[in-house]
């Protein structure tokens, strides 16, 4: 009879509707006694089972849940189910990468430099790190990339990281300023290996299902997923004859208007070989310096992740960071401090590597068929 406890949702003749921990709603055929909505109750055993409800906490008004409260939000149908299944996806992710030989690493969220990427705005914080110290500027990471690469330069094996990242000014049905990212790297590896990782990881999360339904459309997960080249799609889907000759801004506009909305609807798509100007941390493709070893993964209309064959040349990386800052200056936006510790690590020799950052919340949306990112987080 231990399961008779919870929150009273409603009281009717001959019974009580209880919200049990974990979001299970149960109707108990019994005398409600003094219980009223909002009360926390436990069943008291007697001859023949539970005979009475004891009110262990009395709700002050009996009007439950209060509009706008956590309880009201999480009382929506499926919310606890989604949170439970999200936790399972996270556990399955860790199991998958550990079994594949990856080491889980933790990296700082609060850093002296959060990178220079032109269109990412890190959150600025000020803090005194010790008693009596002056307040210093720190940043919340937009991705654990720099620290993971420092680990690779220091001899790390294949590594993965699961954690929170922060991006100022990003909010929408698929965006939150604070979100959960899973990022992984393989040293001495090309970015094709990361595509294979994606296929196997998502298959593991889908629990053997070859097809899933997302937002009413069937998504076929059967590998290998299509590899589509950026410039090919600008030609085929945006109708451009010589997309290579456009400036990056015009390429991006054509991509947003005509290509991105078409990606990943029937099968997940890898969009590969991005213009070099759109890949500040990727290395040029061997044999074609106009494009970078960068891919993005799209599935169900969601942009899930971004991957690079990593740039390991310290001098070239410094030049690109400075170019980012020049572009920021021109646009009237704040320049970002260069991450000297990261650049120093590259100068020590980082093995040729590939890695990817994936928005875990969006993967959860995809596999749990959620319409918004807010449905797959508690707060």
């Amino acid at each position: 009879m231990n399961d008779v406890h919870g929150r009273v949702l409603s009281v009717a003749d001959g019974g009580v509707t209880l919200l049990r921990p974990g979001g299970v709603v149960a109707f108990m055929e019994m005398d409600p006694g003094a219980a009223r909505p909002g009360d926390l109750v436990v069943g008291r055993a007697g001859p023949g089972g539970v005979v009475a409800l004891e009110v262990v906490w009395r709700h002050p008004t009996g009007e439950f849940p209060a509009p706008g409260s956590d309880a009201a939000r999480l009382a929506a149908p499926r919310r606890w189910e989604l949170l439970r299944r999200r936790a399972e996806l996270l556990a399955a992710t860790r199991t998958h990468f550990r079994a594949d030989g990856f080491l889980e690493v933790e990296t700082p969220l609060l850093v002296p430099s959060a990178g220079t990427e032109v269109h990412l705005d890190p959150v600025r914080v000020e803090l005194a790190e010790g008693p009596g110290e002056d307040r210093a500027v720190r940043w919340l990471i937009t991705s654990p990339e720099h620290h993971m690469k420092r680990l690779l330069a220091a001899g790390a094996p294949a590594i993965f990281n699961v954690g929170k990242v922060f991006r100022e000014g990003e909010r929408g049905r698929h965006h939150r300023a604070e979100f959960t990212m899973i990022e992984w790297y393989r040293p001495f590896s090309g970015y094709e290996a990361i595509m294979d990782d994606c296929e196997r990881w998502v298959a593991a999360l889908a629990g053997g299902r070859r097809e899933i339904v997302f937002r009413g459309r069937v998504l076929d997960l059967t590998p290998p997923w299509p590899r589509l080249r950026f410039y090919d799609l600008l030609r085929e889907r945006a109708g451009l004859t010589r997309p290579e000759e456009l400036d990056p801004e015009a390429q991006m506009a054509a991509f947003v208007d005509h290509v991105e909305p078409t990606l990943g609807h029937e099968r997940p798509d890898f969009l590969v070989e991005w213009p070099i100007a759109m890949a500040s941390l990727a290395r040029p493709k061997p044999g074609d310096a106009r494009v970078a070893e960068r891919f993005e993964l799209f599935a169900g209309g969601l942009e899930l992740g971004n991957a690079f064959g990593e740039l390991t040349d310290a001098a070239e990386q410094r030049r690109r960071c400075e170019a980012d800052n020049a572009e920021r200056r021109e646009a009237g936006r704040p320049e970002m401090p260069l991450d000297e510790a990261f650049l120093a690590a590259l100068a020590e020799g980082m093995p040729p590597s590939a890695g990817i950052a994936v928005g875990f919340d969006r993967v959860a949306m995809l596999l749990l068929d959620a319409a918004t990112i807010d449905e797959v987080v508690a707060f």
């Binding site: 990427e117 269109h119 990412l120 000014g169 990003e170 909010r171 929408g172 049905r173 698929h174 965006h175 801004e249 991006m252 991509f255 947003v256 208007d257 991105e260 909305p261 991005w274 759109m278 993005e296 942009e303 971004n306």
Partner: protein
């Protein structure tokens, strides 16, 4: 001026000389590039729906558009007259702004009229009206199973397709959005 961050469902603004209403929107930032807001917009004059992407930083002109609760009064052969429920002012509205709605207007019917720069441009009627059939061919008995329909004239003068079994003088329920028969009303 509106910013892209003001975009939400139902936001109305002026663009290319026309009033638009946001039907759908989505914040996107693909490829770690500039942020965009994808929108589906409805032209409030023509009803045309278009897709348009706005870059963060673009601005929009507010539009002089107002919804007013009114009651239908009468028509004088040229205009249809509605009384404003708040100001009690009378608004004459031409047939073009009313479209198919003229088929269902009844005295004292509560409606919403949308005004663009002071001009009435569209009307919202209640979703259903009940009207009496003033003329139709006699009912065909025993033919309730198939979907055959016949034409009937209702008290406003409009014609509606009704099932064969419906009789002259019956009051029927009509969906004003589609002009379709929804059933008989028992009086």
């Amino acid at each position: 001026m509106y910013q892209t961050s003001d975009i939400k469902k139902g936001l109305k603004f002026k663009m290319d000389g026309a009033p638009w209403n946001v039907v759908e929107f989505l914040f996107v930032k693909p490829g770690k590039g500039t942020a965009f807001t994808r929108t589906k917009l409805k032209n409030l004059l023509t009803g045309q729906v278009i897709e348009r992407n706005f870059r963060t930083g673009e601005t929009f002109e507010p539009v002089d558009i107002e919804n007013r609760n009114v009651t239908y009064m009468y028509n004088d052969g040229e205009h249809y007259y509605f009384m404003d429920s708040e100001s009690f002012e009378q608004h004459p509205v031409g047939e073009t702004a009313l479209g198919d709605s003229v088929n269902w207007l009844q005295d004292n019917m509560p409606c919403d009229i949308l005004f663009y720069e002071g001009r009435p441009i569209s009307i919202d009627l209640p979703n259903y009206v009940e009207l009496e059939i003033t003329y139709c061919e006699p009912a065909v008995k025993g033919d309730t199973a198939n979907n055959a329909m016949k034409s009937a004239t209702v008290s406003t003068g409009a014609t509606v397709l009704v099932p064969l079994f419906v009789e002259n003088g019956t009051t029927i329920k009509i969906d004003t959005r589609t002009g379709e028969y929804c059933g008989r009303v028992s009086k």
